[in-house]
Symmetry: C2
């Protein structure tokens, strides 16, 4: 069975997976970059931005795992860009330049559909206005038998957790404070149906993996 | 210099260090016991409750560290008991029976002073109505040159963090969800003046140690 997987969804010690006030200059909200600094110290993270060097080991292994066996990505509209409401005449095509690091179909959940956007390197953004369960189905169809990676943002991951749609969730806990933003584990009640299946720390990050138990 | 130290202050994955609705039957709030189950799997934790066996290693080492070099404990009134407001004619003498596991002076911060309460085994509870800075001073005086352990509860630890009074804070992150209760890292803003000095995981718990940097 293909899975819906969340990887490298870093949170701060105070529980925030995104800072407040997302904007063009702060795609992850104010302070949000600090959640992902560990990625750029790994060999895989450095390779992703065209650099060499970086660490191997626990952090690198977890980072790389997020790219294995994935045939499509599902993301919320706010992860695709900072524009809210109608697209207007902005020619926004994502944060990632002409060759986004997906190389497969990306389903973007939005109340404002627009034509598919084909990028270089095999990434095509498909804009879908649908209930979350239906969007997940579309992502699985696009993945052609492989797994679907749920990219974010925070509110979409929470929606999918609440609906029991997530099969595997990897949360790197980074020992920094954001003070404000969007908490990942909020308004979920006592999240049932998930168990911690991995708990490993490097010097920089504590990695938690939750897996669906039913 | 003697230090103000917090140890074994377990939080859930969703950030709660105590469950909601503390009562005589639920000293740690509803669900709060789950935060401390790891303690009773360690050799030190089992010894504390008169049992044998238990694990050695990371969890046990962290548990035991909380008892080393401590000359006094400081706690909030809600950690001492479930009674709110005036003491009335209740003869409440803490959660811990006739021989509490402190064996040194314990300063209880309360707006309702009462005479000191001398227990078996060297524990005496002193009830102090004072600003938190003054209560910390009294605890250091009572500790006779040794460190002071800040026992809790959550709101007192937050007050002391905000005031920059805590020197060392050990937080075991336990991969369970409480869904509600008191969050440790809440309303603190971007907690400045602290750095993560240790990050270690066992199979059960991720241990984070924050130390004051100034």
């Amino acid at each position: 069975m293909a899975k819906l997987r969340v990887h490298n969804f870093s949170t701060s010690l105070d529980g925030f997976a995104a800072g407040p006030d997302q904007s063009v200059d702060e795609p992850l909200g104010v302070g949000g970059r600090r959640l992902h600094e560990w990625v750029f110290q790994t060999a895989g993270g450095r390779r992703m931005i065209g650099e060499t060097g970086g660490t191997t080991g626990v952090d690198d292994d977890f980072f790389e795992r997020g790219f294995t066996g994935v045939g499509a990505t599902l993301m919320g509209r706010n992860m695709f860009g900072p524009i809210r409401g109608p697209w207007g005449d902005a020619d926004w095509n994502g944060w990632w330049g002409d060759d986004p690091p997906y190389h497969h179909p990306v389903i973007v959940l939005t109340h404002h559909p627009r034509p598919p956007l084909e990028m270089q390197g095999g990434t095509t953004f498909h804009f879908v206005d649908a209930p979350v369960e239906r969007a997940v189905e579309q992502a699985f169809a696009a993945a052609g038998g492989k797994d679907v990676r749920l990219g974010g943002g925070v509110s979409l991951v929470r929606d999918c957790l609440r609906a029991g749609l997530v099969d595997e969730l990897h949360v790197p806990i980074v020992p920094v404070f954001l003070g404000a933003g969007e908490r990942l584990f909020d308004e979920l009640g006592v999240l049932a149906g998930y168990a911690c299946t991995e708990l490993v720390a490097s010097e920089r990050v504590a990695h938690v993996v939750l897996s669906r138990t039913r």
